[in-house]
Amino acid sequence: MKVLVPVKRVVDYNVKVRVKSDQTGVELANVKMSMNPFDEISVEEAVRMKEAGTATEVIVVSVGPQQAQETIRTALAMGADRGILVKTDDVVEPLGVAKVLKAIVDEEQPGLVIVGKQAIDDDSNQTGQMLAALLGWPQGTFASKIELAGDKINVTREIDGGLQTVSLNSPAIVTCDLRLNEPRYASLPNIMKAKKKPIDEKSAADLGADIAPRLQVVKVTEPAERQAGIKVESAAELVAKLKAAGVIG
């Protein structure tokens, strides 16, 4: 079984982004970029499947600018076999990404696609579910456990009230949550090896995917700033303040 893993290049999770003064977006110049943290978890899961002999090949794909190649290289250094860069300098919305991914799934015929639950830049939480819809496949979102069981894929999901397990017909889409695994760091020899692994380059047009945006960003603004309050000296003072503020008692 081939496993396909889409990876997105995003602003590193440690960066506190700043809104541009012209309100067109956030400042991206000279900002550290990394693989979306959820996608590291997906890559790790796929590589573990390969190590366990349940996956035959792990293919990573990124839709983005030339620099997204670095993100693909990171995944290759973690153990993925080959990469596909669908190159574009435009912002591609989740629906467009899902269309590109569908075309790649049609070509590659994977038995499983592991997607991140959410990209930490747009916070959309859509792409995996959209891809499942376009393919007519079942979806196991927010996974904390994936079990291959014959022609079924059992997925344990993190839901609002606790955990839920569903059984999916394969092929299927799984989106991963934080507790699925702890991704490895690539070792130096593996980083060197990854340089020789193939990365295929395509365009959305090659794939026949329509990536024209549907949303127009009118503006991007700063959220209301919270002011730091005061320090209290003791639990007694804290209780007095909360009582005075009318939030307790």
């Binding site: 629906l95 930490i120 819809a133 979806q139 993190e158 009230g161 606790g162 507790r179 209780v239």
Partner: protein, 312 residues
């Protein structure tokens, strides 16, 4: 203009998130209908019919829709979508699971976690863990939207909508196996008026009863940071933050939590924030109204005692 709200419910009861989503739907203008899908969910359908502003309730009574199964519910909604200009769901784990599936089937780009409705096609939504707010206009003819429930007040009672039965074929792609729900008598985090959350500083799940005792005095819900969940101190559904639950209670007490961007994203709209942390440089103090720089193992028992003194 008519909108369809996908109800959040447990078959026997309707969740508060539904009435909040109705408020967002009403802001689009026009009629609001509510879909209640699940087996033996007549009680939830009836409750939905009483929400003020709801013109019609669609009730799909079939076990294939139970547990929020997205393949079946998306197929149902798509079969109904011809009559609607917008489909809305609360941004709960169920809503986030099913709404994008519906959007893609309708060839629509979803608007995720809207926090304000500016017009029938223009919305505000947070991006980058709430560090920026995007005003975004949809050019799609139909809108598919998930709603951040902390940003909308619940629509009141007083409706008397008709209830109509609907159904769809079973796509047969997936089956429900089991659910392990966290049992608690405390209020659910997204509905709690007061929340006390613990972080890595709690050191162990064995220390969470310290917070439980405060919660019991205040009628509060108990939450946690990702670090506390990852370490296994508490179950996953305790996680507050960018990728956990978004909460906005009257009072949020963060204990042994540093205040990472991702945690703040989930609680910084709380009315009053209290932080108890031994590190006075911890970023949580930058958003706290009241900060107590102290060892939590001393401060939390003292807090319990002081609450007792005022009769709590």
């Amino acid at each position: 203009m008519t909108s369809l709200v996908i109800a959040e419910h447990t078959n026997s009861a309707l969740a508060d998130a539904t009435a909040k989503t109705v408020t967002a739907a009403a802001a689009l203008g026009g009629d609001v209908h509510v879909l209640v899908a699940g087996s033996n969910a007549a009680a939830a359908a009836e409750a939905a019919s009483k929400i003020a502003g709801v013109a019609k309730v669609l009730h799909a009574d079939d076990a294939q829709y139970d547990h929020g199964m997205p393949e079946a519910i998306a197929a149902l909604v798509v079969s109904l979508a011809g009559s609607y200009d917008a489909v809305l769901a609360p941004a709960t784990t169920r809503g986030k699971n099913v709404a994008p599936r519906i959007a893609a089937l309708l060839d629509v780009m979803q608007l995720s976690e809207i926090t304000a409705v500016l017009s029938a096609d223009t919305f505000e939504r947070p991006i980058y863990a709430g560090n920026a707010i995007q005003t975004v206009k949809s050019t799609d003819a139909k809108k598919v939207i998930t709603v951040r429930t902390t940003s909308f007040a619940a629509a009141g009672d007083g409706g008397s909508a008709s209830v109509e039965q609907v159904s769809s074929d079973n796509p047969g792609l997936a089956t429900f196996v089991s659910e392990e729900l966290t049992k608690s008598d405390r209020p659910e985090l997204t509905a709690a008026k007061i929340i006390i959350s613990g972080g890595r500083g709690m050191q162990s799940g064995d220390n969470f009863p310290m917070l439980d005792r405060i919660a019991d005095k205040l009628g509060a819900g108990v939450g946690a940071s990702r670090a506390a969940v990852d370490a296994g101190f508490v179950p996953n559904d305790y996680q507050v933050g960018q990728t956990g639950k978004i909460v906005a209670p009257e009072l949020y007490i963060a204990v042994g939590i540093s205040g990472a961007i991702q945690h703040l994203a989930g609680m910084k709209d709380s009315k009053v924030i209290v932080a108890i942390n031994k590190d006075e440089e911890a970023p949580i103090f930058q958003v706290a109204d009241y900060g107590l720089v102290a060892d939590l193992f001393k401060a939390v028992p003292e807090l319990e005692e002081e609450l007792g003194k005022i009769g709590l």
